[in-house]
């Protein structure tokens, strides 16, 4: 299945969230005639937790929505002025839907990442003014003109901490077990430039100023780490997307002699190659950052063991996940690819895929061995809690392996997270 523009899937340990971004042309608010709007809808699906109910959003759902919203809107991460089409008449209203699929704790951070990743991959159709008096707005479908990405200035990343009743006990990225027993929590939203976009500490136990400052320091390190991961995943997606467009050129040129950029999402022709490529891309930054995360963890230690637990569970799953499934193998498109890559117009990811395609087998082997290497790294810091979790992973893993094609990226992901933590 081809992952669409503007959608993302995030797995943070056991927490699983999906985000979708859609855009619509609407009338702007009266007091802001030049700006588009951004709205966030959070769905606490009963799928995620037996205690979630449908209907009225609960307090925590509203709070989550507000934290993510504040991080994006007030820090001006998304450029709303570029969303204006006709001042005072028509602007783009961007709507972000976040679906919580599995509540493993720390929904805020994961929801934030999902929102950012889907915003980065969202493309809005290009509009131009036409008709008489240039007052009519024509929305160009993606086949005619390439849709445009949103302008995003920076990525505000939320990092949540949990406090416990004993003074210096502090956990980063709490799981839902930890959330049940913690007495206070704090969410700090920062970006990779070191700016603090928002801090939310809703009641709970009072903590010392020094602890708060320490949290902010930790959070800024985490933020740059996560920003890099999100950017890598989005790059992979963009590369895959560009490849998909290029692949369509041969078929359309032979048929009707004109270059048509068709968004053929139903095409069963082989994207297997691309999938393996993108899977590898995801594997590499994941594993690389797993190694990176362990070193700041060791330096910034001085807290109790429980922060260790939190950190290792974090390392397990913190990535954006893009599923790019293929229906069947199409040997023809592979052969044509390298030719058309050279001949095609310069699109963003042209150079990198060419390089990678010439050496797919070479890359595959080192990657396969990597999951085996990293467990050696992570074993000393893994807690007993994580081992029990991986037992569950392994049970699930066998079933996924037997699933008929297309192979979902989630499966690879579960496997790697198992390998990491075990």
């Amino acid at each position: 299945m081809c992952r669409e523009d503007g959608s993302s899937e995030v797995q943070l340990g056991q927490t699983h969230i999906m985000g979708f971004v859609t855009g619509q042309l609407v009338q702007p608010y009266r007091d802001r005639p030049n700006e588009g709007t951004l709205s966030i809808f959070t769905e606490f699906s009963p799928m995620a937790d037996p205690s979630f109910e449908t209907g009225r959003p609960s307090e925590s759902a509203v709070e989550l929505g507000r934290i993510v919203d504040r991080g994006l809107r007030e820090s001006r991460a998304v450029d709303t002025e570029s969303l204006c089409v006709l001042a005072g008449k028509l602007v783009w209203a961007i709507r972000i839907d976040l679906h919580i699929l599995d509540n493993g704790g720390n929904l805020v951070d994961a929801a934030n990442i999902a929102a950012l990743a889907s915003l980065l991959t969202f493309r809005r159709p290009e509009c131009s003014l036409g008709g008489e008096d240039d007052l009519e707005v024509i929305v160009h479908p993606p086949e005619e003109r390439e849709p445009l990405p949103l302008i995003i200035h920076h990525l505000p990343i939320a990092v949540t901490f949990g406090f416990f009743s004993s003074e210096s006990l502090l956990v980063i990225d709490p799981t839902h077990h930890e959330e049940a027993v913690m007495v206070g929590k704090m969410t700090a939203t920062l970006n990779a430039n070191g700016d603090v976009c928002a801090i939310q500490k809703p009641g709970g136990e009072g903590v010392l100023q020094s602890v708060i400052m320490q949290c902010l320091r930790l959070a800024s390190r985490m933020a740059s780490d996560i920003t890099k991961k999100i950017k890598d995943a989005v790059e992979t997606y963009n590369t895959e997307r560009a490849l998909r467009k290029i692949k369509r050129h041969p078929t359309s040129i032979t048929l009707d002699g004109s270059v048509n950029l068709k968004e053929k999402l139903n095409e069963p022709s082989g994207h297997n190659v691309v999938n393996e490529l993108s899977r590898k891309h995801l594997e590499k930054p994941r594993l690389a950052s797993a190694e990176n995360a362990s070193s700041p963890g060791n330096n910034g230690e001085g807290e109790s063991k429980s922060s260790n637990f939190g950190r290792s569970s974090r390392r397990d799953g913190a990535t954006s996940n893009f599923v790019g499934g293929a229906a069947s193998w199409d040997p023809y498109s592979r052969g044509v690819d390298s030719d058309f890559l050279k001949a095609s117009l310069a699109s963003r990811g042209t150079l990198t895929p060419k390089k990678k395609q010439q050496d797919p087998t070479g890359e595959r082997k080192p990657n396969e061995s990597k999951p085996e290497e990293s467990p050696g790294d992570v074993i000393p810091t893994t807690s007993a809690m994580d081992v029990s979790e991986t037992g569950v992973h392994k049970g699930g893993e066998k079933t996924l392996k037997d699933a008929v094609k297309p192979k979902h990226k989630r499966k690879k992901k579960a496997f790697s997270s198992t390998a990491d933590a075990s």
Binding site: D49, P50, N266, A327, K398, D402, V404, K405, P406
Partner: protein, 243 residues
């Protein structure tokens, strides 16, 4: 008559299927089912005490919640919920756990035609994953008929919109029997030929409808094989999971 479909399939060909079970950690049972680009995620929370007001307390009841990809929940979603609920009620053994509610939550990940059949298949797999007792499984398929009278299976969204009419059909799973009696016969016909659910949209003639039924029935055999294969493989590992 040969017809050209946009993605090159022949009229009787289904899109590639994929099914994964136990993908969520909190839910008692979960499954994801995809047919081509249409992908649906289903989660089941096992019997909870108590039933809703209108439900019969002598039997277990099933509650279905349908979550669309974006947007508010409206009438079409409610309709899907009702159809799914009635379908699942007919395949589950309701007398085992009276006065309980089993919740099935469906999340649409991507809709590219044949959404309801995909959801029914996913819900069925998730119920198995949760261990809810059932009489037999159900396999759902979408057949549509075009103006010229030919019938195609498993349409994509574009094909669905172009067609004169289409039908969602749900058949019981074919039984693989260990005993020599073979499949059970109901009134002389094998049980697989019964229809659990049929939902039609658009207009089609009676002949077209029966034509679709036959095609659908044939395809359901393939689907039940696939379902059996993907569910069977998880059985040995299932015992280690503590739920």
């Amino acid at each position: 008559m040969e017809v050209d479909r946009a993605d090159g399939r022949n009229p009787n060909q289904l899109r590639p299927l994929a099914c994964s079970c136990s993908i969520l950690h909190r839910a008692h049972g979960s499954a994801s089912w995809s047919q081509g680009d249409t992908k649906v995620l289903a989660a089941v929370y096992g019997p909870k005490a108590g039933t809703k007001k209108n439900e019969n307390p002598e039997k277990a009841s099933i509650e279905v919640i349908w979550k669309p990809r974006t947007g508010q929940i409206g009438k079409p979603e409610k309709e899907y919920e009702i159809i799914l609920k009635r379908t699942l009620q007919s395949i589950c053994i309701l007398t085992i756990n009276p006065n309980t509610t089993t919740s099935v939550i469906i999340q649409v990940v991507h809709d590219d035609g044949a959404l309801l059949p995909c959801a029914i298949n996913a819900a069925c797999a998730a119920l198995v994953d949760a261990g809810i007792p059932m009489k037999h499984l159900a396999v759902a398929i979408c057949c549509c008929s075009a103006e010229s009278g030919y019938c195609i299976l498993d349409p994509t969204k574009l094909e669905e919109q172009k067609m004169k009419g289409f039908a969602y059909l749900v058949f019981p799973n074919s039984i693989l029997s260990v005993l020599p009696e073979g499949s059970s016969l109901v009134q002389g016909e094998p049980m697989e030929h019964g229809i659990i659910t049929s939902v039609t949209h658009g207009a089609m003639s009676v002949d077209d409808y029966f034509h679709c039924l036959e095609r659908g029935r044939a395809a359901s055999a393939k689907l039940s094989d696939f379902l059996r294969r993907s569910l069977q493989s998880k059985l040995p590992g299932d015992l280690s999971k503590a739920e």
